[in-house]
């Protein structure tokens, strides 16, 4: 009970100290996703007036948060449109794909099925260890990511140094 009193005292003591409100983890990830398009160059960018296509392949943990985040992006005159699909065979036309299978094996399956296309693949450590070119993780309570620049280069994608600078780790292009 002494302990409880101590905790209470500490809490009161600290009440004046600012603690920044925490954003929900998934909301921050959803905010990142359309934003990535600004920092990547595709071999064939979308046609004039056509939107970037941000695809969610497999399980969608974001829901309307992602649509809201995408709708506020305008990149060199292109909007960002969100498409959702269960399988990889309808991914033609996607520039970015957030990939989350029902199981780790399923995630790998989806990633490999996207390999033949110039799509920036994004995965989340929460869903499993399988990594796309960008792999979300949490570092000291913040959303960060690993970048596989070698894999991106192999598909003809170029990731800007500004994005690479934010990565927790980069697998460099050879």
């Amino acid at each position: 009970m002494k302990a409880a009193r101590l905790l209470l005292a500490l809490a009161l003591l600290n009440a004046a100290a600012p603690v920044r409100a925490q954003a929900p983890e998934n909301a921050v990830k959803a905010a990142f996703l359309p934003r990535f398009a600004r920092y990547v160059t595709w071999p064939t960018p979308p046609a004039a007036g056509a939107p970037f296509q941000l695809c969610v392949v497999g399980h969608d943990p974001f829901g309307p948060m992602l649509d809201r985040a995408a709708s506020s992006e305008l990149i060199d005159g292109h909007n960002v449109a969100v498409r959702r699909m269960n399988t990889a065979d309808r991914a033609a036309g996607c520039q970015l794909a957030f990939v989350a299978g029902a199981s780790p094996q399923d995630t790998t399956r989806l990633l490999l099925a996207l390999r033949s296309q110039a799509i920036l693949t994004i995965t989340d450590a929460r869903a499993g260890p399988q990594r796309g070119m960008i792999h979300f993780t949490i570092v000291a309570g913040r959303v960060r990511f690993f970048i596989d620049d070698a894999e991106a280069a192999g598909r003809g994608l170029s990731i800007s140094s500004r994005l690479l600078a934010l990565a927790a780790g980069v697998r460099a292009r050879r």
Binding site: A3, L7, L10, A11, A17, V19, R20, A21, Q22, A23, P24, E25, N26, A27, V28, A30, A31, F32, R35, R38, Y39, P61, P64, R68, S72, E73, A102, P104, Q105, T108, R109, L110, L112, A113, R115, A125, R126, P129, Q130, R131, G132, H135, T137, A140, G141, R142, V143, F146, I147, D148, A150, E151, R162, L163, L166, A168, G169, V170, R171, A172
Partner: protein
């Protein structure tokens, strides 16, 4: 202390079923009950779309309180304890964390010993039908097929999730998955970058832990950790040993590294530990292990995995020394084509053990032995219709003590809607003989015999789904038919030597159910229930001088309720209440009545990096008894502690 009492205690160390000197998954990868989704709240009024990408990367985040998972496809009675559940509970050790699973019965025996089982047979000596894995490493002892929980003291913050399957594990899990599987997975190293410090102190216990993780290039990460703990002496129970100390303290340290790309995932990890159990000077445990695993996707329809580990443990307890060295190699291939998910694989395990008894004449003959286990398995999951799948698998297993044994299982999974899974299964499982089963001697009274595998045919059915948007629910029923359960008998006709035989058969049945309801965005309520009825009898010509102790001592009903509250951003609380029924079939032992107990944890985030918490276990009574194990039991006690955790 009388010699007889000491004999009991030694039996404790050997953990054998000799109570009186008078005489199994399917989609392991697919996690758990679907949590009701939490509506996204606007983060402190900040509009994320106005932030630069650098600002986004600096924004403190609040983790989703539960993982959002697609409805698990696994047609088994599967409960998942998440790492978040553990950190938000009062649990201060792995066995205490397992109390979160309603399909397990957890009995604290004393400061360092626990008996944990699913679907019955619980006691230290008879909880021998469970497979327990930590990151793919099997941790039940080949000495008696039980688990020495005092060898398992992981840093709880590292645990990603614990899958608890009640019922046979099916084809894909290793040996001994008869009544259940506990599959403990620690976090991938890429999820533990940065530092964490934790300290606790309380009426009964203290702990300190540190972890540090770094990224290794763009595809790898490494963490190292160290963990120290102390649990004080428990009070004598009256029915248990007098004057036996059980203070438990020690440390554990280790590392885990993971490297991953689109195609490959490589893991290398290891631990080292040393702890003391203060029954006699120098009593305690130490060990080391190292494990490597490589998973590679060969194409989008095929992958393989190979895993190898080495594990060594030494236990010193009451003048006996028990050591076990394990080398294990396993491999599997997954193929996916035309509606079929095919898994095939095999494994090879060899153990070298030694059991030295300086206390009395109980001994293993030979004192040291190498044992082998080989197995091969194949399983296919195929879709009959888009909503109906059949899983058929068979495992073949051979050990140094048995011929080739076949363990088939057949499961049906029906998804009438996205939110509903109905399943049914029939499976066969065996508990192969342990060293004690075959080679325990007390000459000339007791000699090793020809003990055969204990056998189970299990019939199960269940429902899992989301009956409403806010509630997830799982209900399963089982009917288990057992044969060749262990007995301790004189020779036919009544002469010596006494031997361990397979004289019991019978059945058990029960219901397991649990739900999680997101009542409001800040209140989640979890309820759980498990029941068990047992009916066993001797096979013709058999009896048991151990008075059917092998069947364990189980509650007929367990009820669980847990509320998780998050009323304001900084404050998280959990309160749990459990009602454990009276232990059954205590013919020769003191009666243990049913009891209510409660645990609580209140966690306050003082700054972005520092959280403080107060936690309490067994809050309703100063002391209570959870077991009637007269050779080991001490009182479970109320314990209150404060803790601080820093993440940077």
């Amino acid at each position: 202390m009388t010699n007889r009492r000491f004999a009991f205690l030694l039996l404790g160390s050997a953990a054998i079923a000799w109570p009186d000197a008078r005489a199994a998954a399917q989609d392991a990868s697919a996690p758990a009950p679907l949590p009701a989704s939490v509506p996204a709240l606007a983060p402190g009024g900040e509009d994320l779309s106005q932030l630069s990408i650098e600002e986004l990367a600096q924004l403190p985040v609040r983790s989703a309180s539960k993982r959002e998972e697609p409805l698990s496809q696994a047609p088994t009675a599967l409960y998942v304890i998440t790492g978040d559940d553990i950190v938000n509970s009062a649990a201060d050790s792995l066995p205490e964390a397992l109390r979160l699973a309603p399909n397990l019965n957890v009995q604290q025996i004393n400061g360092h010993e626990y008996a944990i089982s699913a679907r019955g047979f619980n006691s230290v000596e008879t909880a021998n039908k469970l497979l327990v894995l930590i990151d793919g490493r099997s941790i039940y002892s080949t000495l008696h097929s039980g688990v020495f929980w005092d060898l398992r003291t992981p840093m709880l913050e590292d645990i990603d999730q614990i899958e608890v399957i009640s019922g046979p594990g099916g084809t894909l899990y290793g040996p001994n998955a008869v009544n259940g599987v506990i599959n403990i997975a620690t976090r991938d190293a890429s999820e533990t970058i940065g530092g964490l410090l934790r300290g606790t102190a309380g009426t009964f216990e203290q702990s300190a832990a540190a972890r540090f993780g770094v990224a290794l290039g763009g595809s790898g990460a490494l963490r190292v950790y160290g963990n120290w703990f102390n649990f004080d002496d428990h009070q004598p129970a009256g029915i248990g040993p007098v004057g036996l100390r059980d203070r438990f303290h020690g440390w554990r340290a280790g590392f885990r590294s993971d490297f991953a790309t689109e195609r490959d995932h490589f893991t290398l990890q290891g631990d080292i530990f040393d702890n003391q159990v203060e029954s006699l000077p120098n009593d305690g445990n130490r060990g080391q292990n190292v494990l490597g695993r490589w998973t590679r996707a060969l194409s989008d329809n095929a992958s393989f995995e190979v895993q190898a580990y080495y594990d060594n443990v030494d236990r010193r307890y009451l003048l006996s020394l028990d050591s076990l060295e394990t080398v294990d190699l396993e491999s599997q291939v997954n193929l996916h084509a035309g509606g079929h998910d095919l898994v095939l694989g095999g494994g090879l395990r060899t153990t070298r053990d030694q059991f030295i008894n300086n206390l009395n004449a109980f001994a293993l003959n030979p004192q040291s032995r190498r044992l082998w286990v080989y197995n091969g398995f194949i399983q296919d999951r195929f879709a009959l219709t888009p909503t109906l799948s059949v899983i058929a698998g068979v495992k073949a297993e051979q050990t140094s003590f048995t011929g080739l044994q076949f363990l088939p299982n057949l499961r049906v999974a029906w998804h009438p809607t996205e939110q509903t899974l109905l399943w049914a299964a029939v499976s066969r499982a065996v508990r192969t003989p342990s060293r004690v089963d075959r080679q325990l001697e007390f000459r000339p009274l007791l000699t090793g015999g020809n003990f055969q595998s204990e056998k189970l045919v299990a019939f199960e059915a269940g429902y899992r789904g989301q009956p409403s948007r806010r509630t997830s629910l799982s209900v399963s029923i089982f009917y288990n038919r057992y044969d060749d359960i262990r007995t301790t008998e004189f020779q036919p006709g009544g002469g010596l030597p006494i031997q361990l035989m397979n004289g019991l058969e019978g059945h058990s049945y029960g219901v397991e159910a649990w739900s999680a309801t997101q009542v409001t965005p800040w209140l989640r309520v979890n309820l759980g229930l498990s029941t068990l009825w047992k009916d066993f009898h001797f096979k013709p010509g058999h009896g048991d001088i151990a008075l059917r102790d092998e069947l364990g001592h189980d509650p007929d009903v367990q009820l669980f309720a847990r509320a998780e509250l998050n009323p304001i951003d900084r404050l998280r609380m959990s309160f749990s209440l459990r009602r454990i029924g009276a232990l059954d079939d205590s013919a020769a032992e003191p009666e243990i009545g049913g009891y209510f107990e409660a645990d609580a944890n209140v966690n306050y985030r003082l700054t972005e990096t520092l959280e403080l918490y107060v936690a309490g276990n067994n809050l309703l009574h100063a002391t209570h008894l959870e077991s009637n194990d007269t050779s080991r039991v001490k009182l479970a006690e109320r314990s209150v502690y404060v803790g601080a955790r820093v993440r940077f």
